[in-house]
């Protein structure tokens, strides 16, 4: 049984435009994937693809104007429900945590680091303050923050970006969750710091047998820190599989265009053709969402939305899934 099973998630945003008419943005359109224990999944996509939204859905943090129109999320066999609900909350509890973006703004600026790390444990049932304190220091050690006992008294603004991100990792892992979701964990970090942070994250996750979802737009991170990857476009997963296979085979034209756009590929194969405008979530085409940008679109792509090919571990949502040209 999979640790996590997301099935056919549809989320819409309903808002009023300037002319006072209701507009619906179809932000998630049938997101489905499974995650096994101990796996690290990379969720890739561009702005508006729906990666962060998927994470919010997993955490039960969707609020109006986001509306869940369909779908099911199961964690360890239990149905989590899609919006905040008591059963879901207790099932999620300490088991699913989030490591958010922008470490500088995600930490409470009015509380010392140690206090925040203890607070998180207390909120999830830890009553022994001595144990909580010790655990906090232990976590700071694990994320390789020098002089952890001293650092417990530090204020968030005293930390560098890299340090703050490591504290966030410590905070996310302190209650030993089963699933960690890291949302763009290296935004704003220097290259050298990024590498260290990711190494620490990967090490801790695998040492404790956790599963993780890394949300990123950086293909390099996916290539080297994830076991599986899911490529998102316009609110749906268009290709999903083991990292090696997806990079090798690139069955979906969008995956091909993403990889072809990396400077390395451009250096080898020249500039690819122009890409077209981002999808309009208020007005998605019928049939395949990618067809307006796809160089291989044919008549069949206008009709039914292709379903994610089931069966194999490498699935693609395309009427004409070919390998690389």
């Amino acid at each position: 049984m999979s640790l996590l099973s997301v099935d056919n998630l549809h989320v819409h945003f309903i808002a009023r435009g300037i002319n006072n008419q209701l507009r619906t943005a179809k932000a998630l359109n049938g997101v489905s994937f499974d995650l096994e224990p101990g796996q690290v999944l990379g969720l890739v996509g561009e702005t508006g693809a729906g990666k962060s939204l998927t994470a919010l859905a997993l955490l039960g943090l969707l609020r109006p104007p986001a509306q869940v129109v369909a779908g099911k999320i199961q964690f360890e066999g239990q149905d989590l429900g899609l919006v905040d609900n008591p059963a879901g909350r207790s099932a999620r509890g300490k088991s699913i945590t989030l490591i958010p973006q922008s470490p500088k703004t995600s930490l409470d600026p009015t509380a010392r680091i140690g206090e925040q790390l203890i607070r998180i444990q207390r909120e999830h049932g830890q009553t022994d303050m001595v144990k909580a304190h010790a655990r906090a220091i232990e976590m700071l050690e694990q994320v390789q923050i020098p002089d952890p006992a001293q650092r417990m008294k530090a204020w968030p603004h005293e930390l560098s970006g890299g340090m703050a991100q490591r504290v966030l990792i410590a905070a996310g892992l302190i209650n030993s969750p089963r699933l960690v979701i890291a949302d763009e964990p290296t935004t704003g970090l220097d290259l050298t710091v990024q590498a260290e942070v990711l190494d620490i994250f990967k090490r801790l996750v695998s040492a404790n047998g956790m599963s993780a979802i890394i949300i990123t737009h950086d293909l390099g991170i996916v290539a080297h820190y994830c076991d599986r990857m899911a490529v998102m476009f316009a609110g749906t997963i268009i290709e999903e599989g083991p990292v090696g296979k997806v990079f090798e085979e690139q069955r979906h034209p969008y995956t091909q265009s993403l990889i072809a756009s990396t400077p390395k590929q451009i250096a080898m194969h020249g500039f690819a053709s122009a890409v077209g405008s981002p999808p309009n979530l208020y007005d998605l085409p019928t049939g395949c969402v990618y067809k307006d940008r796809c160089p291989k679109a044919q008549a069949v792509c206008d009709t039914t939305l292709p379903t994610l090919g089931v069966g194999s571990t490498h699935r693609v949502r395309c009427h004409l899934p070919n390998g690389k040209p």
Binding site: D190, Q194, F247, L258, S261, A267, V275
Partner: protein, 335 residues
């Protein structure tokens, strides 16, 4: 030898910091760019690369040093004289949304250089803007739109169009694709490449992304905490990064290829605070190869490719180059 298009001599930019101290964002940087060249500035936060861009375009005054453009010393030029020169040196900023006046249509923003630097009539200006839009592959109807109505990629095209309108001889690009989506970046890079080939404009590409710089530049300077630590032809530096910092940087890069072998090199600690810089070589506090010599004055440049002419010289400011002991890992290989 041809006179360089622009030269910087020992340029310094200091900023006041807390407690009355001063921080040197740029500390005695010298460089030169030939006409039509494409040069890259690479560094992490605090390297001073963005400040250098602002200094070169005279958007911020230098604390000391010289900037010589086309033989003229423009370091202390008055605003009025500078204004006329600005048609020659243009800049494209990192954030396309912030770089345009939100209350002006993009068409009007693109027309501004023509208004300021030419005597074209309004009709002629309109025509010029249309031609410009075509050149950067911008659909005509976007000209009537306001910045917030366009996507990042389109806005950056607008900014690039605006910057080439006055036919500049030097274009400074400060992280031109960092705020853009992956699929859009390639298009912008292609546009810049085309522009350089068609107009012969020199490009200064400031970036933290190694792959972009490798693709787009002929020469490269690596900056660390306000100083140049390595410089030379781009392919040379990528093949044989001589300075330990450059090596560390390159090893931290994650190529989008799961089969690429990573060789993570060890570093010690984080970047020092600019208020508390190490004596001597600025990288000495983190360098695994540090010697006592390294703390006595910033190292001079050592040549690595045997006395080539100025522009093609590959040099690193590291004491260990002299005895070839500057390789952090003998197993280091470019992925």
């Amino acid at each position: 030898m041809n006179r360089p298009l622009i030269e910087l001599h020992d340029l310094v930019k200091k900023f006041p910091a807390d407690g009355g101290a001063q921080v040197s964002a740029v500390d005695r940087v010298s460089l030169s760019i030939q006409a039509g060249e494409s040069v890259g500035l690479v560094g992490e936060s605090g390297s001073g690369k963005s400040t250098l861009g602002l200094l070169m375009t005279r958007l911020t005054p230098a604390s000391s040093g010289q900037i010589i453009f086309d033989g003229q010393d423009i370091t202390h030029m008055s605003d009025e004289q500078l204004r006329r020169l600005r048609s020659q040196i243009q800049m494209v900023f990192q954030d396309p949304w912030g770089a345009l006046n939100p209350r002006m249509t993009v068409g009007r923003s693109m027309a501004e250089p023509f208004k300021l630097h030419t005597t074209l009539t309004e009709a002629q200006r309109k025509q010029a803007v249309h031609e410009l839009a075509e050149r950067v592959h911008l659909p005509m109807e976007s000209l009537k739109r306001f910045p917030h109505e366009l996507s990042g990629g389109q806005l950056q095209r607008v900014c690039i169009a605006r910057s080439i309108a006055s036919k500049p001889r030097l274009l400074v690009l400060d992280e031109p694709t960092s705020s853009l989506d992956l699929s859009v970046r390639a298009g912008i890079l292609e546009l810049l490449d085309t522009i350089r080939k068609e107009t012969g404009v020199a490009l200064l590409l400031i970036s933290h992304d190694l792959e972009t710089v490798e693709l787009m530049t002929q020469r490269l300077l690596v900056l660390y905490l306000g100083k140049v630590v390595e410089r030379g032809p781009t392919p040379e530096i990528f093949k044989n990064p001589a300075h330990p910092y450059t090596q560390t940087l390159m090893s931290a890069h994650l190529p989008a290829n799961p089969k690429a072998v990573l060789s993570r090199l060890p570093t010690v600690g984080e970047m020092p605070s600019p208020l508390n810089l190490p004596a001597g070589c600025l990288f000495s506090s983190r360098c695994p190869l540090v010697r006592s010599q390294c703390q006595q004055g910033f190292p001079a440049f050592s040549n690595l490719n045997g006395g080539h002419a100025n522009a093609a010289a590959h040099e690193a400011a590291c004491n260990r180059v002299a005895d070839s002991s500057n390789w952090l890992s003998s197993l280091y290989q470019k992925s």
